[in-house]
């Protein structure tokens, strides 16, 4: 019976209105909508959704609590496995994880697990929150490098186990990519990110900002001089990639990291902040991931006519379906099967256009994806005054270079096993620093596993 109810649509800000502001796009479910949607869950005996969740949230349990109206209990179930449920409910790629494996999805639409997670987490925060059970202090100190999703998840689990945890953050605000990368309109900073970080701090986790591990301190000094028994490296994938095409260093060409950091961490969109940003009148964003969507939608909100240029087709876009859908609704143009070959400059060294070449899909490569091939002689120019390169990132080499015995692979990622153990005893790693750029939830999963491994390493 339950699955006869269609998936409950979620209310969103009107696309025309939201294209001019930085307020959150999605309003989320109210209690009534959430209970109705929750009632669609079949409560499978063998829930495939849980297996598809990198942190193994007990999905059918929290959903049945929502269905029964026990919202606080639903949040408690979430808190057993996830330190950042309001964040995950907003930014996880549910369609390829929990919702992608929901049995209802075979014949109709999967349960809106992400929106329900968000509802339970938001409700709980607005109604006093949950406080997870914390074991008595065990006297051992653990250092966590980076306060992004991997570090926060690791710190949360370790604190629950009774460890004295200090997170070292290089920037002036904690949160990592949640703070500098993902825009306000997708993930509100004060209301959601700061609140969930405060929940982690409420367990006794200390966060020291403005500490760059590898420069201000080293892993060796933390282990040898500051009494830490183990270190978790969750430093993320920091260094932006460029295309190495002519004109890439003209004024008006930015990495997505720079553009987003100026706007998100440094609040360039707000009048009361000093940060300058250059959005121009016409913006071309190169790339097709979530970061490209974020950069394009940010440029649009700053008043620019914005086009996304991607060398494959829409089907291959690595971004979440929801983000692509939202971007289109807001009026972002998509130029698919198109690849820049040169950035064109004016006499003052500023961008005036991008020379592109049309592509077609060729034979599948080792990864199974059909690789794009240039169509000879198909070059054409797009007029633009700003180009944002969103081509992914590579790990920051700072920690590997300053830590003896820490092995990295040829892409510069720290080598770690399933549990997060690196080649250096007592040093664990996870998230983008190990895998290269991936998702918030995969980083959190790695942080959790490492917390378990650190617990074993210290207390046997």
């Amino acid at each position: 019976m339950a699955n006869k109810i269609p998936r409950v649509p979620v209310r969103e800000q009107d696309p025309k209105v939201r294209a001019t502001n930085f307020e959150e796009v999605c309003y989320g479910y109210n209690a009534e909508e959430a209970q109705l949607e929750a009632s669609r869950c079949l409560n499978c005996k063998n829930p495939r959704c849980v297996g598809a969740c990198p942190v193994s949230v007990k999905i059918p349990q929290f959903i049945s609590e929502i269905a029964a109206g026990n919202f606080a209990k639903a949040a408690e179930v979430l808190a057993e496995d996830s330190s950042l449920p309001a964040i995950c409910g907003r930014v996880c790629p549910q369609e390829s994880q929990c919702e992608g494996s929901c049995i209802l999805g075979i014949k109709s639409e999967p349960v809106a697990i992400g929106k329900l997670e968000r509802f339970a987490a938001d409700w709980s925060r607005e109604n006093g929150g949950t406080k997870p059970v914390v074991a008595p202090a065990n006297g051992h100190k653990v250092a966590v490098i980076g306060s992004g999703p991997a570090g926060l998840a690791c710190a949360y689990d370790l604190a629950k186990l009774g460890y004295d945890v200090t997170i070292f953050e290089a920037l002036h605000r904690p949160g990592g990519v949640l703070e500098y990368g993902i825009p306000e309109f997708r993930l509100p900073k004060d209301k959601i990110v700061a609140a969930e970080i405060n929940d982690v701090k409420a367990l006794g986790v200390k966060i020291e900002t403005n500490v760059i591990v590898g420069r201000t301190v080293t892993i060796d000094s933390l282990l040898d001089n500051e009494g830490f028994s183990a270190v978790f490296v969750g430093s993320g994938a920091g260094l932006p990639r460029f295309m190495n095409i002519p004109g890439e260093h003209l004024n008006g060409v930015f990495s997505a990291n720079e553009f987003l950091t100026r706007n998100n961490l440094m609040k360039a969109y707000r009048d009361d902040y000093d940060t300058p940003i250059h959005a121009g009148k016409k913006v071309v964003v190169v790339g097709g991931g979530n970061v490209a969507m974020d950069a394009a939608r940010t440029a649009l909100r700053l008043g620019a006519e914005t086009t996304i240029v991607y060398r494959r087709t829409e089907k291959e876009l690595p971004a979440r379906v929801e983000e692509v859908h939202h971007a289109k609704e807001e009026g972002i143009q998509f130029a698919m099967l198109t690849n820049p070959v040169e950035v064109l400059g004016d006499e003052n060294g500023w961008v005036r256009g991008v020379r592109c070449i049309r592509m077609e899909l060729g034979e599948p490569d080792e990864s199974g994806r059909r690789s794009p091939v240039e169509i000879p002689g198909s070059e054409f120019d797009i007029e633009t005054d700003t180009v944002i390169m969103s081509l992914g990132t590579s790990p920051n080499p700072l920690i590997a270079r300053t830590t003896a015995g820490l092995e990295t692979n040829r892409r510069g990622c720290i080598v770690a096993d399933e549990s997060g153990a690196t080649s250096r005893p007592g040093v664990f790693a996870g998230g983008d620093a190990v895998t290269g750029a991936a998702t918030v939830i995969l980083a959190m999963g790695a942080g959790r596993k490492a917390a378990e491994a650190i617990h074993k390493y210290i207390l046997g």
Binding site: T216, K267, I277
Partner: protein, 287 residues
């Protein structure tokens, strides 16, 4: 918060501050820099480290009022505190990695321009403490704009002052002074280090090339995070893209594309002008 323990004005537009930052002070090396954010709404401003005192846990910064943010930094007084000070950033100067034997045989000349004199000081001091021969040329528009004269005199072998108007020392550019020292006075140097405005480093490099003298320059590019994340600081060095924040700030002057670097430095000049106007307004509102 990072407390300012002392402040003095070196010129009407250049201030020197000692700031409490114990972790930074204990790790700082010559050639490195830091990033400062005056308050919650401020920009992240990269500044060179002019000195550090490990036992007192302080670092010294020298700031020239140029834009809204540097003016704001200079408006802070002793006892005030900055919201954020982070560092040390960048790779320490090459010579900090050299052995005593290697250093003993070398003779350095530093070419300092304007506020760039401040970051030259810890380098010269470091070398002097290790018995290395160091000459320093300081250039400024006029006598009143010379900074760090006494400090420098105490740690170098020979100090040469140049002013554009001849109000002190040699009348002319630092490059002319360097040529004179090498060509007329028969000075022999193994390494030059030029720190100052980009245009001065460009011409110092051209002169060094002519004199066949290797030269290191310290690039003060645009930056946001300072940890390699944003790529705003990218410069072309020897035809390759390098990030000044994590691979610099010091590079072989011969290989730097100065014209591109100067153009990129002006990227936000329009926005900065607006910020200065905006900034004045904010103060007017009694911020």
């Amino acid at each position: 918060m990072y407390k300012i323990v002392s402040k003095d004005m070196l010129t009407p537009t250049i201030c020197r501050m000692k700031v409490e930052a114990p972790r930074l002070a204990s790790a700082a090396q010559p050639g490195q820099f830091l990033i400062i954010r005056a308050d919650e709404q401020g920009e992240r401003i990269p500044l060179t480290i002019s000195d550090y005192d490990r036992s007192a846990g302080t670092v010294t910064i020298v700031t020239q009022k140029i834009g809204a943010s540097t003016s704001e930094i200079c408006s802070y007084e002793e006892g005030d505190a900055f919201a954020d000070v982070v560092g040390p950033l960048g790779i320490p100067s090459d010579f900090t990695e050299m052995s005593a034997e290697e250093l003993a045989s070398r003779k350095y000349v530093f070419i300092a321009g304007g506020v760039g004199t401040a970051p030259v000081y810890p380098q010269v001091k470091w070398l002097h403490e290790r018995g290395v021969a160091v000459d320093v040329i300081i250039g400024a528009k006029t006598k009143d704009l010379i900074i760090y004269k006494e400090e420098m005199e105490a740690v170098c072998d020979n100090l040469y002052i140049c002013t554009d108007d001849g109000s002190e020392g040699f009348k002319g550019l630092v490059t002319a002074m360097l040529e004179k020292l090498v060509n007329e006075d028969g000075k022999k140097y193994d390494q030059a280090v030029a720190i100052g405005p980009m245009i001065m480093m460009k011409f110092a490099t051209l002169t060094c090339k002519k004199l066949e003298l290797p030269v290191i320059v310290s690039l003060n590019t645009l930056m946001v995070d300072g940890t390699g994340m944003c790529g705003a600081c990218r410069v072309t060095v020897g035809g390759k893209v390098r990030f000044a924040c994590v691979e610099g700030p010091e590079f072989d002057g011969y290989l730097v594309d100065f014209d591109e670097a100067m153009r990129r430095q002006r990227m936000y000049s329009t926005e900065e002008r607006e910020a200065i106007e905006h900034h004045t307004c904010r103060i007017g509102r009694g911020k």
